[in-house]
């Protein structure tokens, strides 16, 4: 990871052999994230806030399209089952980086952690809106009352614990970093906290890999109790394993894809090496997943239903095509070295994975011959609104904190913008100027 030994004093850096090498996380600078898109997101978020109040006031019936046969709507089946899986980057990318030692992926870790935090936070908040009697959730604090055999208990408890403890702790470092640079007086406290985090790091991180492994698979185990009501193309005892696998390649798609999109929008350099590593890993997860899934279908004797002219077969083929073609595009992008191919590969495989995780809960769930479900407008707006909230917070976070990976040069360029703390510095006269590491004010201040 280190370049040749530098003899220059800190300040100017000669360009590294790979000019676009991601060496450091850098906030978004020089560009405002508060554009029309951001305000659209905030508007959707506020709208969903009002609609949530409406849902709390009248009950779930008028505010959603859920009915007696389809008790779960898109709030659970999409925002929780799908979006938290798509946003489980902290799990998949983290395991690849920390457990399997793929060092280059460390630069993506902060992105993965932030997207995970937001996906889980928004998903769990919406889950709180979705359940009918949330005031009884306090039973989660009494483990002897848990029904340990219930996948639902596992999901609810594990996700809550995960989001509030390990994931939150893992997301603290960028905030601490900014505080350290922001005010010299805070540095001792920050350093103490960082030291504590560092000491417990393996325990926190191990928990952060164990828990998502458990609940992403339990999200699959939920539909096991659906029994015959889930179409045989999806219903399998391996559903938990396939769900975890889908979460893995989807979350790679999320982390790498969103990073690519951010670099595109804000015109930041892209480190092909890191992305190619990620693409390779994702492609192989995808193919392993496809093999397991189809072998399972074959051995269960359910594969022939994929050739019946039903809508379920159609969904199956769309899913398989999206995931498989996405994986193929990822491998292709390693050859043709086109970022577009890679981006499309991530997108298609993520969408396919989303469809796969969504199907057993809704599309392939058949509680009765004449029972159907489609979300109502209010339900859709609330779901979109919560997701928009996540995206809006993401935009604010990448602007304020060092999350997005970039070459080290960008860190120095950013310092010029980081400097602008006029009112605060005038008031307190305490601000760390100059290139980081200096403690003396320069002449201009």
């Amino acid at each position: 990871m280190s370049t040749a030994t530098l003899t220059n004093p800190p300040g100017i850096f000669p360009p590294a052999p790979n000019q676009n090498r991601w060496e450091r996380a850098v906030p978004v600078y020089g560009v405002s994230v508060f554009n029309k898109f951001f305000f659209l997101l905030v508007g959707l978020a506020i709208l969903s806030g009002f609609l949530t109040i409406y849902r709390e006031a009248v009950g779930l019936g008028p505010a959603s399209g859920m009915n007696d046969k389809f008790g779960w709507g898109i709030w659970k089946t999409f925002n929780v089952v799908v979006l938290t899986a798509w946003g489980s980057g902290a799990f998949a990318v983290g395991i690849a980086a920390w457990v399997f030692g793929r060092k280059r992926l460390h630069t993506l870790m902060r992105m993965a952690l932030l997207t995970s935090m937001l996906a889980y936070a928004c998903g769990l908040c919406l889950l709180g809106v979705d359940v009918g009697r949330p005031w009884n959730f306090y039973w989660v604090l009494f483990p002897w009352n848990w029904n340990v055999h219930s996948p639902m208990a596992e999901v609810a408890i594990c996700m809550s614990v995960y989001a509030s403890i390990p994931l939150a702790l893992e997301n603290i470092p960028p905030i601490l970093e900014r505080l350290w640079h922001f005010d010299v007086r805070l540095q001792p406290v920050v350093e103490k906290l960082e030291h504590a985090l560092h000491k417990f790091f393996p325990f926190i991180v191990a928990l952060a890999y164990l828990l998502p492994g458990m609940h992403q698979s339990s999200l699959g185990a939920l539909m096991l109790l659906g029994g015959q009501r889930v179409h045989p193309l999806w219903q399998t005892p391996f559903l938990p394993l396939l769900y975890v696998g889908a979460a893995s390649f989807m979350s790679f798609g999320c982390v790498a894809g969103v990073t690519m999109l951010c670099c595109l929008v804000w015109k930041r350099p892209i480190d092909r090496d890191v992305l190619e590593e990620a693409a390779r890993i994702t492609a192989w997860i995808i193919f392993a997943w496809l093999v397991i899934r189809n072998l399972d279908l074959l051995f269960r004797g359910a594969l022939f239903t994929a050739f019946h002219p039903t809508e379920y077969a159609l969904i199956f083929w769309i899913e398989t095509f999206l995931i498989g073609y996405g994986g193929w595009l990822l491998l292709q992008s390693l050859k043709d070295r086109k970022l577009r191919t890679m981006f499309l590969g991530y997108t298609l495989s993520s969408v396919g994975g989303m469809l796969y995780r969504f199907s057993p809960t809704t599309l392939a769930y058949m509680p009765g011959p004449k029972a159907t479900y489609f979300p109502s407008v209010i339900e859709l707006l609330i779901a979109i609104g919560f997701a928009s909230t996540g995206i809006a917070i993401f935009l604010v976070m990448v602007k304020l904190f060092a999350i997005l990976p970039a070459p080290v040069q960008e860190w120095h360029n950013m310092a010029l913008y980081f400097r602008a703390r006029g009112p605060y510095s005038n008031w307190t006269k305490y601000f760390n100027f100059g290139f980081f590491g200096d403690t003396e004010p320069t002449e201009s201040d």
Partner: protein
């Protein structure tokens, strides 16, 4: 006090045939098959024996603000024998409509009946009692009705308020109630009071209560407003002969239309049967089948209920609070859920927007990368210049 003859002795002396008496007893059995201790016997002969042994009860009947309909109901039996029979079973010692005396003689009859049977007679009250302006609106021998009622009731063994007027005020108490009419139980305390609302009530209700009291020594079981349960426990709707039409959804709409002529349910014409406690649906009047309002094609007015008649419109429908299954069946699988146009459009719009954005943005990687490299190069050059 002279010893009163038993009912059996009196009937024999009056020359009433035993056959007629047994017929009366069997009608009582029909009236209250399980509601009275008196009729809860294995055969009509046992009832006849029980009644026959009893001393003829003395009944004093007072009229206040009434239309005399309740008296008429007692007399309007379809076979004259039964009317006479009733009057032979009970000893109607004072009855302004039926007695021959009037004026001072009537007053004297009242005094002597009260004295002769003090503490044992049954007081039957017909009509409401006006209370406004010290009760001047109805006076008996220059005494306000309330005073008369209190005097006579003070020596009665039990008080029966026959008719809606005596039970809770009835017609005179309808808005604006100019005379301040009230029922008996607002004025009398300390005596057992039985309310027999109705306009008029079925005479067998009265007969059953009186005979139960004198034969078995206690009043029948009363509900929370003092009505005997054997006659007022259920609402008309529960036993209505037209109930099948209600359950099947066949309703008459207006007098004389097809449904009305076919005898369909009168609910939609404002029948108050579902909220009216009375026994009219099983025990019709004048011993003639279908001789009652609904049987005649007129929606029930709810004449026993204080909150119904004179408070609701004749053709105003009442809410139904009973669970009654109709004549249709749900299939094994019913349809539920579905998409609305708006929702489908929204999903399409979002999917389209995301797909379009993906396509558009995926094209821009090349140009963005070049712009980014340029920016870094510029910034680096600037920094170098500064250092120099």
């Amino acid at each position: 006090m002279s010893k009163q003859p038993t009912i059996a002795e009196h009937l024999e002396a009056s020359g009433v045939s035993r056959r007629s008496f047994i017929q009366l007893c069997s009608m009582l059995m029909v009236t209250a098959p399980a509601g009275l201790a008196l009729t809860n016997k294995k055969s009509v002969f046992e009832i006849a024996a029980a009644i026959g042994k009893t001393q003829r009860p003395s009944v004093i009947w007072l009229h206040f603000q009434d239309c005399t309909g309740c008296t008429e109901t007692l007399l309007r039996t379809s076979t004259p024998d039964v009317a006479h029979l009733i009057l032979d079973v009970i000893s109607l010692d004072y009855h302004e409509t039926l007695m021959a005396a009037s004026g001072a003689q009537a007053e004297a009859a009242l005094r002597s009946a009260m004295a002769a049977n003090a503490g044992k007679y049954v007081l039957v009250v017909e009509g409401a009692i006006p209370m406004k302006d010290d009760g001047v609106y109805m006076q008996l021998n220059s005494k306000p009705a309330v005073q008369v009622l209190r005097e006579v009731a003070s020596k009665a063994a039990a008080v029966i308020a026959i008719g809606s007027c005596a039970s809770w005020g009835g017609v005179p108490s309808a808005d604006p109630n100019p005379t301040g009419a009230v029922g008996v139980d607002s004025l009398i305390t300390g005596k057992p009071i039985v309310n027999l609302p109705g306009c008029p009530p079925n005479p067998y209700n009265l007969l059953g209560v009186v005979l139960e009291y004198v034969t078995m020594g206690k009043l029948p079981q009363l509900d929370e407003v003092g009505r005997p349960k054997f006659a007022y426990e259920r609402v008309i709707h529960e036993n209505c002969p037209r109930r099948a039409h209600f359950d099947a959804g066949r309703f008459a709409g207006a007098f004389g239309d097809e449904g009305h002529r076919k005898g369909w349910c009168l609910y939609k014409m404002g029948c108050k049967g579902p909220v009216t406690h009375a026994a009219c649906s099983t025990r019709h009047f004048n011993e003639i089948a279908d001789c009652w309002p609904i049987g005649a094609g007129i929606p029930c007015l709810g004449c026993t209920e204080k909150n119904v008649v004179w408070k609701m419109g004749t053709f105003e429908t009442v809410p139904i609070h009973l669970a009654t299954p109709p004549d249709t069946y749900p299939p094994i699988y019913s349809s539920v859920g579905g998409a609305t146009v708006g929702a489908a459009a929204l999903v399409g719009a979002v999917a389209g927007a995301l797909g379009g954005a993906t396509y558009v943005y995926s094209q821009r990687f090349q140009s963005s990368q070049e712009a980014g490299a340029e920016r870094i190069e510029n910034a680096r050059a600037q920094a170098e210049k500064k250092e120099d």
